[in-house]
Amino acid sequence: MTPLEQTGDTPVLQLTDIHQVYGTGDAAVHALRGITLEIAQGDYVAIMGPSGSGKSTLMNLLGCLDVASSGTYLLAGSDVKTLDENQLARIRNRQVGFVFQSFNLVPRMSALGNVELPLVYARVPRAERRTRALDALDMVGLADRANHQPQELSGGQQQRVAIARALVASPTLVLADEPTGNLDSASTDEILAMFDLLARDGRTIVVITHEKHVADQAHRVITLSDGVIVSDRITANTPMAGSRS
């Protein structure tokens, strides 16, 4: 399993007839009702849709934080259903960088400590861990806040720490669930600029958003409604010639 070597238009994510059902019987909620979708290496995808349409549910499946009720999900060619607990942990650690709407920094742990975490679980030696974490913080412009705890940082700064943490292990896939949902417009612009850079760097990016100008940055916009894809279009700023259905 070497998805790091994936290049070009090879689909890195491949979903076929994915269903997700929460609860059972009368209380069952059909959050996803048959999603079929391919995302290629280097794509920059925005996912839109009304609240409750299943965006987060889809994102959690993509990031291997949850397992689908039915359907197949191939990540870099391998079916995640066949992977064991430790292999999934490894994928989350090395290949996926997750940015949450609610930041999800570990409380009472410094910004540097938070950014180091993925490297800790990747068993990177202490000294290298420190340099790489500081580099990542520097990239999001927070090198001078390395020793601050989350509660001492503003919302925008916390989200930048979370982005540094998502990127520190150089994942091929960056997933962001409404990353700017809790931020003011200035912070939103900073973070969008950051995603732009990442996209130009060739990372695969999937962003959930409600905001049109955030979606406009992406190369491709997928719209969900009631658990199904209702539109999937290429935006004007896509660098890729090929079309997609």
Partner: protein, 400 residues
Amino acid sequence: MILSALRGINANKLRSVLTLLGVMIGVASVILLLAVGNGSAQTVNSAISQLGTNTLTVRPTGGGGGAQTAASTGSTKQITMAVGREIQSAKLGHVRAVIPQVAGSLTVASTTASETAISVIGTVPAYFTVGTNSVATGSSFTTEDVTTSAKVAVIGQTLAAELFPTGSALGQQVTVGGTPLTIVGILAQQGSIGFNDPNSVIIAPISRIQASFTGYGAVSSLTIEATNSDAVAAAQGEVEIMLNQLLGITNTADEPYTIINQGSLLQTAATSAASFTALLGAVAAISLLVGGIGVTNVMLVTVTERTREIGIRKALGATRGAILGQFLAEAATLTLLGGVLGVAVALIGAQFPITGTLPVILPFSIPLALGVSVAIGVFFGVYPAARAAAMRPIQALRAI
């Protein structure tokens, strides 16, 4: 691992302090309570060995110095040296020796120092063969000394040191209530069993003390040495019959003396000391349990509180093993630290008498208390964390 555990502990100071305190108090109280029980048991046991388990004490009742009111007893006689000698020469089946004693409290002085209200005992050489009343240096006085009312004495170690701080007391002269006595022996060190220091005493031939101070009337007590510790009760019966004959007592319901079987009193005390230790042990076990429940509570709350953190860590790629390792290291470090502090507190606390007895720490209680508290802390620190770590990341993340 330890470093990150310390960081985790530092990040949750309040609950860390609570856990630490719970373990510390639990461990310290178990060790100390058992030590108190053990200490009192040892005091009783040393008293037993000091008195000997094969002795009886006959003490006249009513009137100081053994003077009796004859009215109701039908007796006009007192317990004297002569009575003691008669019992001795009767060769009763279960009696080995009869040791008469007279006692007083007098000022004892050397040329350089003087001590008031010192316990002065007049007795016979057999006194030094009972219990732990042996002579350590020099020798006891002899039967000859008793016959001749010799001016000699055996002295206790504390008194010897007080009167002769610079050199040995052996061969030196002391004046006891004005009478000069030569010290021929020094008693072996004795454990304290009451308020009086048994090492601050001077012992002289009974005839000498009678001649100089008490007169030749009643003695203070007769110590009866039985042939062995199982013969004490039989000896008591024999002595009682003989005494009643000698004293001409007709009304045995109102004897002018009591016979005290100290050995059996102390055996009873030893038995109750043992059950006291068991009781304290039970209290200690309860306190350890309560401490454990406290720790458990803190740990459970902590893990519930930190389930979200576990979710974050899993989302970042932590394996179940890594999460477990983290919580194990934290719980183990905390409870071990608390346990070691508890042992330290117990060791310090055992230096001070508690309700009159000096606690003596039972060695096995330290690993027992440490082991149980660490096991409780680690189990309840790790078990809920293991459950949280087994969740899918999104489940743990949604936990509030």
